[in-house]
């Protein structure tokens, strides 16, 4: 019913827009399906349009999506006095540039490593905006309405949308890839492993609670043996932690009882050992408030379709620029280290030798500066852990200083 009504209104509005354009003598082809429509909706007379600012998160969480570009993008949204802040999650399913298959739901180990990044990042678009007295949105509390819009939130990014009360999906939207957490530690005693799992699960569930969402869904997404089904009271989901509910979301995944997902089903996103949410499921369990593929559809769902304007902000450029700089920084770091290694300290006099040593120190300091600026994003598997490298550089410089002192 709701979908039918939405389609009717979208169609009606589109028709009205076309008629209005035709009346003005413009001939325009319908917008391509993939390209979001960015023209302003006609403002309601006498009311200023709702300013919608979209931040699209692409690339890898923790590399392309980190605090620096996010802070910059939010500053731009603030400067543009956004009334609605839409954060579209369309990230790569990868960790340290290793790309996973979308259907691979067995990635809790990697995902929970990204959870701390999520815990920190989400404060930027929740608490920091709340506490920023200078935000001037045209809303009752002067703060923008926060909307998470999920297209691809797999791996650690699956935890990102939960701290916002309003979540929407695209029709292809998926959230998951954080399952099989019981198996994330391959060695160790039972109790410490359970402790590690417990704290990670609680920290993820807590983000759901912050946004007012059902934390049991997080457990179902992550813990294989957790059984969750749902009954509907009216249209409200009431969860039961066994298989007795109307809709079985996850079974115990136990191979002994034949519940382990078959691989072909997993590849078709039809498994239920762990929960992967698509648009329909997310809407049914009331995590998602609606499904929208284009911004105008989303604005319809947000009830601002007749009076909004999309702000052409800099957020895309900010994130793209950051990603490019990270790649360049890694290359520059490696070039600098290579150049340092090529220097052979030779010469007839201490002055000649110490000149080369000074050059070595200069290169090491340069490498350290690069690392300092981009350490939140660099790939530790390519360069090493930035904290360790920083310490190693420190020691190398100290050693060179000693050599200079001794070579007199």
């Amino acid at each position: 019913m709701r979908t039918a009504a939405r389609l009717f209104w979208t169609a009606t509005l589109s028709t009205l827009t076309l008629i209005a354009l035709a009346g003005n003598g413009f001939a325009q082809a319908p917008a391509a399906e993939a390209a979001p429509k960015t023209e302003a909706a006609q403002p309601v007379s006498g009311e200023s349009p709702v300013k919608v600012y979209v931040i699209t998160l692409r690339g890898e969480l923790g590399r392309d999506v980190t605090k620096t570009p996010m802070t910059e993008a939010l500053k731009d949204a603030k400067k543009n006095k956004a009334d609605v802040l839409v954060i579209k999650v369309d990230t790569a399913f990868s960790v340290h540039q290793k790309v996973m298959k979308d259907f691979d739901d067995r990635q809790a180990g990697q995902a929970f490593n990204q959870l701390e990044t999520v815990r920190e990042l989400q404060t930027l678009f929740t608490d920091s905006i709340r506490d920023d007295k200078d935000w001037a949105a045209n809303t009752p509390n002067g703060k923008p309405r926060l909307v998470m819009w999920v297209n691809k939130a797999l791996g650690g990014a699956a935890f990102l949308p939960w701290s916002s009360p309003e979540i929407y999906f695209t029709s292809d939207g998926r959230m998951g890839g954080v399952g099989y957490m019981e198996f994330m530690f391959s060695s160790g005693d039972y109790a410490p492993i359970m402790k590690q799992l417990s704290l990670r699960l609680a920290r993820a569930k807590s983000l759901a609670e912050k946004g007012g969402h059902e934390p049991k869904l997080i457990e179902a997404m992550t813990w294989t043996s957790y059984v969750l089904s749902v009954n509907y009271v009216g249209d409200q989901p009431v969860y039961v932690e066994d298989a007795s509910g109307e809709d079985l979301l996850t079974d115990d995944g136990d191979p002994k009882t034949g519940h382990k997902d078959a691989f072909p089903d997993v590849m078709r996103f039809q498994g239920n050992d762990v929960l992967t949410l698509d648009a329909a499921k997310a809407f049914k369990v009331k995590l998602s408030k609606g499904t929208a593929n284009k911004l105008e559809d989303l604005c319809y769902e947000l009830d601002i379709a007749r009076n909004y304007v999309e702000i052409k902000g800099r957020s895309d450029a900010i994130f793209k620029d950051w990603s490019n700089k990270v790649v360049k920084a890694e290359e520059e770091f490696q070039d600098t280290v290579r150049e340092y290694r090529r220097i052979e300290v030779q010469g007839a006099t201490p002055a000649e030798r110490n000149k080369l040593r000074t050059r070595q120190m200069s290169l090491l300091n340069k490498a350290r500066e690069i690392l300092k600026k981009y350490k939140e994003s660099v790939n530790p598997e390519a360069l090493g852990d930035p904290e360790n490298i920083d310490g190693q550089i420190d020691l190398l410089i100290e050693r060179i200083r000693q050599q200079i002192r001794l070579d007199k």
Partner: protein, 409 residues
């Protein structure tokens, strides 16, 4: 799903629906949320936020179920017979109560070095057993001290108890708090734990020095392991909406469990801390070792009776799991005293209508202490290696020095 299962689940669903909509146990204090679609949900409202309401309902078997209802779906709320307009919501996050007096930040000089005043001493033993009771007529002067850097520091400092967060720093902060006539201290916790050896000093410090001087409460973002056990003696735990506490299992090396006498020592310490906090020790035990925890909650008095098994009507922790409570769970089982997203909201749930934010110098001291400890921790290995290098260089220089004191060419 086979037919039999479909029928079974359908019936279960119908029974659950009927139970929720048609019955309200006499002892279950009833709030009713009327929805715009004409249906109603009866239960106990646990939490009200700007965008949603959390309500606990009973399912067919009498067990509690948590429902999240969006404000946009609610037409009205009835609390024990009194109507509430859904548009009247709790204060927006970030809004300040009108009565909150402003504090002049210029009053507090930005000193970061260790205070030169005398270290705090315990008050006399007669007063020791009672937490600080503040005069109800005076305005509370509340200090917020970070036990671990909050997440909005964006990982700029570590959070390890014993290295970054230490009892000495907190002890040194007491004179600064007293100098500023602080009455209440909020211990804002965000830490993944640390060294067990720091736990007892913190327990003693909070019990003997803080609780006797200030109303000292915890406000939890994330209190894991040692970060949960260190302030466990505090009687009042409040939570951020994303708060969590628990996972107190001791381990070393490659996830090797602390066992035997050392484990018993920690358990005994925590039993004492639980007693000092007037809290059932079973809660902490379920956070330390994989034992079950359940409870019954008296519908009339709200009193919670705890069981170290799964016999209670509320299963808090399954056998074989380690307990970490989220904020809502902490509230449901009456471990938490309230949930607050902001300092102002915390003041409300702590019962204050009049208060001043104070103790900025102490807060800054604690923060600087964490930052410098973090730097030292990260650099410790380097310092040692540099020291070793310097010693070797010095010995080489000695060999180069002539008896006259000049360097050999």
């Amino acid at each position: 799903m086979n037919l039999a299962r479909s029928f079974k689940t359908l019936m279960a669903g119908l029974v659950a629906s009927c139970a929720v909509l048609a019955t309200t146990p006499a002892l279950f204090s009833a709030d009713t949320v009327y929805k715009k679609d004409g249906t109603a949900v009866e239960g106990k409202i646990q939490r009200e936020e700007t965008d949603f309401v959390v309500i606990i309902i009973k399912d067919a078997s009498g067990k509690d179920q948590t429902l999240f209802l969006s404000r946009t779906d609610i037409s009205r709320i009835e609390r024990d017979g009194s109507l509430t307009n859904p548009s009247v919501v709790p204060p927006k996050q970030g809004t300040k109560p009108a009565e909150a007096p402003k504090v002049d930040p210029t009053k507090e000089p930005a000193k970061t070095e260790a205070p030169k005043t005398e270290p705090a001493k315990p008050v006399d033993s007669a007063k020791k057993d009672e937490p600080k009771a503040r005069s109800t007529t005076s305005v509370a002067r509340v200090a917020f001290l970070n036990f671990g850097p909050p997440s909005d520091w964006q990982g700029s400092a570590g959070n390890m108890v014993g290295t970054v967060v230490n009892a000495k720093g907190w002890r040194d902060a007491i004179p600064l708090l007293e100098k500023d006539k602080v009455t209440d201290v909020v211990v804002r916790i965000n830490s993944g734990g640390g060294l067990l050896m720091e736990m007892e000093p913190f327990n003693r410090l909070y019990e003997e020095q803080y609780k006797t001087r200030f109303r000292t409460v915890a406000w939890v973002e994330s209190a894991i392991s040692c970060a949960a056990m260190s302030p466990w003696v505090l009687e009042e735990f409040y939570f951020l909406p994303e708060g969590n506490i628990g996972a107190c299992t001791g381990w070393r090396g490659n996830l090797e469990a602390v066992a035997g006498a050392q484990l018993e020592e920690v358990k005994i310490l925590m039993e004492k801390a639980s007693q000092q906090a007037k809290r059932d020790p079973k809660i902490m035990l379920a956070m330390q070792i994989p034992v079950a925890l359940s409870c019954n909650i008296d519908d009339t008095t709200g009193q919670v009776t705890w069981f170290q098994d799964e016999s209670g009507s509320n299963i808090v922790n399954r056998e074989g799991r380690i307990l970490t409570l989220t904020a809502n769970e902490a509230m449901k089982y009456k471990f938490g005293k309230g949930i607050a997203a902001t300092k102002e909201e915390l003041m409300k749930v702590m019962g204050y209508s009049e208060y001043e934010f104070a103790g900025k110098e102490a807060a800054k001291f604690i923060d600087e202490n964490m930052k410098s400890n973090d730097t030292y921790e990260k650099r410790f290995q380097n310092f040692y290696q540099k020291y070793d290098m310097a010693v070797r260089a010095a010995s080489q220089i000695q060999r180069l020095v002539l008896p006259s004191g000049t360097l050999r060419k």
